[in-house]
Symmetry: C2
DNA sequence: ACAAAAGTGTTATCAGTACACCCATGC
DNA sequence: GCATGGGTGTACTGATAACACTTTTGT
């Protein structure tokens, strides 16, 4: 009883990570692979985001947290419920039908979609059963179900939200350089920023704290490291009601 | 088959309207009333927002549109899906249980919540079966289920959204005064704005068009009427990526 | 010494804020 | 003629945007 699935409700999770090396915003996808019964033919071989049915006893947030933990082992990551997807035809692609029949899924399932922001280096993708891999949002592979749409809407929401809340730091290591922050903004928003102006603006914030440390192991001028203090941010936060329609 | 209910999924609609007379942001609520079988006792007498089960063949947006139409007769109103509510205990208040048992509802129902923005004067609340009435968001009556939470989260979303999109005009008549717009912002955001600055800012926008008309039937200086041109707005729109964390 | 990325300053323009009085109308 | 809300102008301040060169390090 306690772990009874709700057959027609699932939670799907778009997991965002940022790769500082390639300066790419990535999504964690799992492989969807199905052979015919005689193993002569590959019926389905593409990718999906991670998700699972809701259990009777869970809140939506708990389901999302459980799904992320199962994939990455991580808990306490930034998460945001951003939209429910419930079109009657959202699972009716040819390969989706093959997959659903094989897995005995409900054809009429609505999904509550979350996105997570996490530090790529905290995830060991080789250490899980799902053949999970990072893919750049700018170059996604073939995706099953309506998952491309879900990822794109997650990204839209993230674009808006990163402008007004300091969630960008969820994607970076605890100690980061100013240029890394700029790179993440540029990757998410798909724009170019002026380095001097950006640097001045960011450093002027009290919640961005310069550390007594520089980068090591780089073959160039090592850059100053900073941290973000959520504590300071929350103490100084005041909502501004700037109407800009 | 076509109209088969999905028993554990509903769409609930927070209907916002603005009363220019009382300068109040209102929510349209329906009465929830239940007597005991011998009619000797009133078991439930409070209010809820409007909602209904999703049908198998519908998208979520279609369900929301249908629910609004049934309550108000209106279609084509601004609507926004803003959150799903799925706590296991969201329908477990004492009166909620009485109500659910009487209506044969599913105890474990998740709801996808929408809010609508509409022009109060377009709704005839006397002309429907639900005993619907407007209530100020600042002075809500007792609400059933988790509907107070749903309304409050809808309001939070509306607060954020009205700062960056011209949705405020959905709440006003087609022809409005600048001061009316200011009043709506003040009601939604619960702040005071400087009239001169607000007026200058609004009039400077090309999508706000002065009409060759003034108010009539007022016992004071009649004010200039304006309209909002969605057309002009969309032509001139450009996203600004102002990072303000 | 060279390559590679880090870091730095000034100016012009625009937007936001604060603030108090006169105006036009209906009664 | 008076009560009511409508409408107006200016000066200050802070933020944004545009723009090119020097510095520091590892190799």
């Amino acid at each position: 009883m306690l772990h009874k699935k709700i057959q027609n409700i699932s939670v799907d999770c778009v997991v965002f990570g940022y790769d500082t090396k390639t300066k790419s915003l990535n999504v964690l996808l799992i492989r969807r692979y199905l052979e015919s019964q005689d193993k002569a033919e590959v019926l389905v071989d593409d990718h999906v985001i991670t998700g699972y049915h809701m259990y009777e006893h869970e809140t939506l947030d708990e389901t999302a947290t459980r799904v992320l933990k199962e994939l990455t082992g991580l808990t306490n990551q930034y998460k945001k419920q951003f939209k429910a997807f419930g079109d009657p035809d959202r699972l009716t692609g040819e390969k989706d039908l093959l997959w659903i029949n094989n897995e005995k899924f409900n054809h009429r399932t609505i999904t509550i979609a979350y996105y997570f922001l996490l530090k790529t280096e905290e995830v060991d993708i080789n250490n899980n059963q799902y053949q999970a891999n990072w893919f750049p949002v700018k170059d996604l592979p073939n995706l099953g179900f309506d998952h491309e749409q879900i990822i794109m809407e997650a990204l839209e929401n993230l674009k808006t939200k990163c402008l007004s809340e300091p969630i960008i730091f969820e994607l970076l290591p605890d100690r980061f350089t100013i240029n890394e922050v700029q790179d993440v903004y540029q990757s998410i928003l798909n724009i170019e920023l002026d380095n001097r102006n950006f640097r001045r603006k960011l450093i002027s914030k009290k919640c961005i704290i310069a550390l007594d440390e520089k980068q090591t192991g780089v073959s160039k001028k090592p850059s100053q490291l900073y941290m973000f203090s959520k504590d300071v941010y929350e103490k100084l936060f005041q909502k501004n009601y700037l109407i800009s329609i």
